[in-house]
Symmetry: none
Subunit: 293 residues, 3 copies
DNA sequence: ATAGGTTTTGTCAAGCTTTTGTACAT
DNA sequence: ATGTACAAAAGCTTGACAAAACCTAT
């Protein structure tokens, strides 16, 4: 606790990636940091200052003006970062794992409640649920989890994510139609993508697993969405539906996610690939659509 | 209410299918509409005007002279169809149907909210959701609903039911392990059965669609439930897994639900059939288990 | 409320997809937005402005004239859209407060629906409803909330919680008899406790506010519950009924909740105090009963 | 239905100011 | 380390303009 590591401006600059001049400018103009001074007048920064600078940069990356970013970053640190019960995503995933192994649905729910209360939806998806699903998808190579537990976990998570999805068709943002291609029954990643889009203002029409491309086309023709997204864990799915995809892409903007999406997208015309994780791709796609308007 | 949507003539024309010139002619000749005017003199039509134009067209199609048609259509609108506070299940299903056809997720949720506020879970399941699913399952013989809308509806309902299922693994009651056999992906009926059990105090472990019988056995061996339930819409599923079912029934009490469940249960030993609707069967099974205690 | 994210026009443009020039034109011509200004005169937009712009665009897409679209979009935001998917408990309580002050029952229900869909019942009770009631009581003391508003909030919340309580006497778990002592009319905390118990599998018999201890004893003698719970906000209630409580505790396990419960429990024999919040106490009591089984 | 004039609305430009990262002199 | 300077980026106001939509009258 008492071991206070005080950094000088050069070290803070190196750790934060912000030039010393700029750090001084932020201090002078916005009072972002209030470093102590050495007897010789050198700035000495405490451990929270680095976190403040990181928040400043995050807000700038979000598009806020420097003055606004600083006003937000200079405020008190939210409890999550302040120190007490900072549970790492890794620890959370292990807790989830234990709860699933015990078929303890209530504990799973409680853990998710905790994450949701302490952080954002993005964090829940990117750092907890999706990595956890990745483990699931890899067949639990350590052999500690049975198929039964995998089914159980899927069910509970699907319920939770669909709960967060309530009302996601409502509003005024751009529309997206989401579906998995025929034969693909793993829709949790797509669900997460839908939630990440929703958090960015989109309206979602969700068709779920195992949907024929013609069916997707019907919905797209009816709704005229800004984006149609198909996602599959299994890269085999794409080749069988290449022709139908092309027909769809002729009338709508179509994106492909999941394994093999890049290859499948390159094999066609006017197909957008979503190779990265759902949250990142939601961010990217949103920027893209906003720019196109 | 200040929130009145005023349309200009072009939009009214688009929505009514009547050319702007004709709309103006009807106004001049018969006084069919009395639009407000913008400061610049443009016509601004209120929400009732569209209805008036539709009535005008209907009367014309019925063979009335334009002057007569206008005289009828210009009259006051009959009291809106709004109102009826106590809604019959049939009306609710039609409302649900309309909302699904429009891909209006929010409306679906609102309708379900209303049912849940006014009645019990049993009513929601037995009289609304399950009959509605039945219609879905019959392929919407009237041809008014596409596969896309069926997928959409399944998704929304699954989310809703899973939301009601939260915490259903917790408590003191008898345990049930629920799953659909391999190849069966329609799990909404099973979900409804689980909820009906939960409302009667059971603890539920839900494995969901497409679960190998061996996987069900794993879970059952781990949890030692009072009851294991497999359900399938597709009666074909049972024969392929008859042997595995017998092995399971040797160690646990096993019940089969859905189409062909009676035949499948009679073909084996110690298999309980659940032929009636999920709510009724939940009641029966509960009585059975209580008696056995 | 220092943590308000203010956007400059460029960022609002990027997020909404509307050019800065057009945003300024909409402001000048229709007063769509009323941004604050920086000291230098730059426009600074609040978080609701983005939603307003989205609504404007939607109305335009629906065919409304810009002037009409703006008139609709400039109005107050409906509760459902105001918040993004996941909101902090603090923000939720503020929203609830606003809805109650406006006597807007539908908005209250919508807010509660959202919490219930996104989180568990425990969260609804522990982090939203109960703190909200606490705030409301204090607001009333300080004269910021009228008695009418408090009554309104109580009745709406009671209706909602009772709706969730449907069927809670059913099942297999341990039984609990719940009541408030004579003179005590605030039963919402007790209701919340009952729901938290129910979520843990208990069967609840609820006698409600202002119940003579003899009446509680009658019910307890008939039902032989694992636990009898009396709760009062007003600590004065206990002394008058100390003797009757002792008689009850001789035949049943009795717990006391609410203000002064600890003192009252210590003043007697075999009385269990429930000093913490209802959810935590429900958890504790359940563990206790499970251990005893 | 057409013609000729008006209103509405999105876009653009010119000239000036504010904001902000970086550089430089002390 | 401090303080000042500077220039690019972003923003402000005013004014104008043209295409689309709409008006009246013939």
């Amino acid at each position: 606790m008492a071991s206070e590591t005080l950094l000088r401006i050069g070290e803070l600059s190196r750790r934060s990636g912000v030039s010393p001049e700029l750090l001084r400018a932020w201090e002078r103009r916005y009072g972002l940091l209030r470093p102590e001074r050495s007897t010789g007048g050198l700035r000495l920064y405490g451990p929270t200052d680095l976190e403040r600078v990181r928040r400043m940069r995050q807000h700038l990356a979000d598009g806020l003006a420097a003055a606004e970013a600083a006003a937000l970053a200079a405020g008190p640190l939210p409890a999550a970062e302040a120190g007490s019960s900072v549970v790492s995503p890794v620890a959370l995933r292990r807790e989830l794992h234990d709860a699933v192994v015990a078929f303890d649905e209530h504990r799973v729910q409680t853990i998710l409640d905790g994450v949701l209360a302490a952080s954002s939806l993005d964090v829940l998806l990117r750092d907890v649920v999706l990595p956890f699903l990745e483990d699931l998808g890899q067949g639990w190579e350590r052999g500690q989890v049975s198929i039964a537990q995998e089914h159980f976990a899927s069910s509970v998570l699907r319920g939770r994510l669909l709960g967060l999805a309530r009302g996601w068709g409502h509003g005024f943002g751009p529309r997206a139609v989401l579906a998995c291609p025929p034969g693909e029954y793993h829709d949790l990643g797509l669900l997460a993508f839908g939630l990440a889009l929703r958090a960015r203002g989109w309206r979602i029409a969700y068709l779920g697993a195992h949907t024929p491309v013609e069916t997707v086309a019907e919905a797209a023709d009816a709704l005229e969405p800004e984006l149609v997204v198909l996602a599959a864990l299994d890269g085999e799915r794409w080749s069988e539906i290449a022709a139908a995809l092309q027909a769809l892409a002729a009338r709508h903007r179509v994106a492909l996610g999941g394994a093999g999406a890049v290859a499948a997208a390159e094999a066609g015309v006017d197909l957008l690939a979503l190779p990265a994780d759902p949250v990142a791709e939601a961010e990217r796609v949103t920027a893209l659509v906003m720019a196109a308007r």
